[in-house]
Amino acid sequence: MFTAKHTLTLAASGLVVLGAGCKDQSIQVYQIPKEQLKPIRQMAETPARPPATAPHLRWGDLPTNWKAKAPSNMRAASIEITGKDGLIADVGAIPLPRMAGKELEFVNMWRGGMNLPQTTTNAIAELREDVTIAGTPGALFEMVSEDLLVEKKYKQRVVVGMLTEQDSTWFFKLTGPDELVAAEKQNFVNWLETVEIDTSSHGPETPQMSQTPAPASTTSPGDWKIPSTWTAQPPRQMLLASFALPGGDAKVEVSSLGGDGGGLLANINRWRGQLGLPQASESQLSEITSPLDTVDGKGTLVDIQGNNQKLLVVIVPHNGKSWFYKSMGATDVVDRERDAFLEFAQTAKR
């Protein structure tokens, strides 16, 4: 028999259910006045970026499932290949200066990104295929991952054509799901034969990344101990921060890349190339690098002396990324700012 007491109990219990419910989380449709305000920070601060240039590529008819896209970043060509079940592969072409003779470094860099073991100078000859690129003999390398790297469902296959012409090395890269890339490899090789390199230039698009809000895992430059004599420079693509050093032509740059950032030796040889120095071997690494303690653990200091130019790089692996702190420019300026730079790199929160 229900009494007032029982009714009260039931009513209170009902409150529990009501009270425990979630806030209103339905889809909202509403009208707002036309926005007249732009994000003010971006109006004044976004610097005009000088357009980088890259040579054009021309080619003949493409297979029906190949769709050329506008060149982007430093790419001279960008093509999307559509396969079965909506699978997509990507073709990109890019020239890089002074990269001749670095096949091993590049192949190992790509293999590292695919979780494949490093290969050796002797073994690379077996991986190399001869192809014709733009009417000139070139090299072709092919790699397949063991892991399911594409959408966690497919192995990844990468086919790269390399062509060195004068001072530039061209990289033509086909990347995508294993089966699709394998099926399109012959089309890719045929396409390599037809491409023509045009040295006139174009301005590439750059991805529009917001300066704010920073991702949670990123520390803003505001948390770094920046020496007062350094002058902050406008942000540039791929750089997290850039500072001009006082008293000469030298600067400090901060950037980060996923994983090991392409490998220590490959990076060192790239920097040595920029300073006009010959390539270093694995055995020389101990002379060029030294360990360095930072707030986020062990880092590596790279010290490269060129003719009148010097490069100091602190590499700090942290949270699956590699952070690069580079001080480069006139030797006397880089040397004078060495202590300030090292303190900055050692104490900067990542």
Binding site: T9, Q28, K34, D90, P207, M209, P213, P215
Partner: protein, 383 residues
């Protein structure tokens, strides 16, 4: 049966059990904030009916302990039913009744606050004006139809709907939205062709030029999650390909569906208001010779055309602006910038209930104490 239930809810043992559980919950929930972060721990331990344990490798959770909501509501029912059964009103017990009423009001007020309060941030640069504030954590996936010359139509999908693999449709949208990937915290990097073998985030728009990765959830007070999603569309006029949306991208992606364009954007949830606030001047005083903040204040112009009100207000520490049920607190600034202010925006229709509750509880305790004191004094006098 009903009697048994009623007896259970009104029992003093239940009160004690709830109090013990609440003590354990506060202890465990406070410790959990170290690893799980303040916000997530609060949600898991205090803003929940039950606390779940997830076996490693299992896809379901096992409830192991009552959550804060459940304990609060059980205590409230316990208090109400106990009052009904055991307490008979008498003037000599006025203080006890008032104290209990204050407690009931406090509990109900807290639940109401949980449900009705919104907290957001308003970031302004000197000279800038906004008619909306933004949530600090929750994001919304919005599609904005700007075809009307007078106003924009916003279709806002809350974060709770954004789960990988989910299909979302709404009559206001000419297409269905498929959430291919949703990362509650994420990282975006420019795709470096020939250097990186990682896949780009999406096939269309900015997502085709960047790489997207999942990031560990933020657990510290000075960091926050920045979600990202890769979406695609279904329907007759739906755009093809996949698109990346993230607060980290600079501006929306333009999606074409039939003859209409939509701005698609994943942004921190916006709360629009029928008035605007413009920052005139931001002052950041430091103690001389140090970087220690002494005081910071924001001089703003409040412009409300609906109430024909325009006035200048200064907001500084402990001196918030209260307007139209919303309170604007001076909350922060950005290091190295003296032209940017951050105001915390709190809208809480029940903000007075804790004050009223505490006053009632205090009065009740004083009255009950005085009743006992007077009675004791009289007994001594008679003796």
């Amino acid at each position: 049966m009903a009697d048994k239930i009623f007896k259970f809810f009104s029992s003093l043992k239940l009160t004690v059990a709830c109090m013990v559980c609440a003590s354990i919950l506060v202890f465990v929930g406070t410790l959990a904030q170290v690893n799980e972060g303040l916000y997530d721990a609060q949600v898991r331990y205090f803003r929940s009916l039950l606390i779940y344990w997830y076996p490693s490798g299992g896809s379901f959770g096992i409830p192991v302990f009552p959550g804060g909501y459940l304990l609060g509501w059980v205590l409230l029912i316990n208090l109400l039913t106990a009052h009904y059964t055991r307490f008979k009103f008498a003037w000599s017990k006025l203080g006890i009744f008032m104290t209990h009423f204050g407690l009931i009001l406090l509990l109900i007020g807290q639940f109401a606050t949980e449900r009705l309060q919104t907290e957001s941030m308003l970031e302004l640069v000197e000279g800038g004006s906004k008619n909306y504030s933004e949530a600090g954590r929750e994001v919304e996936l919005v599609f904005i139809d700007r075809s009307n010359p007078d106003e924009d139509t916003v279709i806002s999908i809350p974060q709770s709907w954004l789960k990988s693999g989910r299909e979302i449709s709404n009559p206001a949208l000419p297409f269905t939205v498929h959430i291919d990937t949703f990362y509650p915290n994420s990282d975006i990097q420019t795709h470096a062709p020939m250097v990186s073998t990682n896949a780009v985030a999406a096939t269309q728009g900015t997502g085709a030029k960047v790489e997207l990765s999942n990031a560990p959830l933020a657990t510290t007070m000075d960091s926050r999650n920045v979600p990202s999603a890769v979406i695609s569309f279904g329907g007759e006029d739906a755009p093809s390909g996949t698109w990346l949306v993230s607060p980290m991208l600079n501006g929306p992606e333009v999606i074409s569906a039939g003859s209409k364009n939509y701005d698609a954007e994943l942004r921190f949830t916006r709360y629009y208001m029928p008035y605007s606030i413009q920052l005139v001047d931001f002052k950041h005083d430091k103690y001389i010779g140090t970087d220690t903040p002494k005081n910071y204040s924001s001089r703003v112009i409040l412009d409300d055309p609906t109430n024909d009100e325009t006035r200048e207000v200064t907001i500084w520490m402990n001196h918030p602006l209260r307007y139209a049920g919303t309170t604007y607190f001076q909350a922060g600034f950005e290091r190295g910038r003296d032209d940017l202010t951050r105001l915390q925006v709190v809208k809480n229709p029940t903000w007075l209930t804790p004050y009223i509750s505490v006053i009632i509880i205090g009065l009740g305790l004083i009255i009950q104490f005085m009743i006992h004191l007077v009675r004791f004094a009289n007994q001594r006098k008679r003796a």
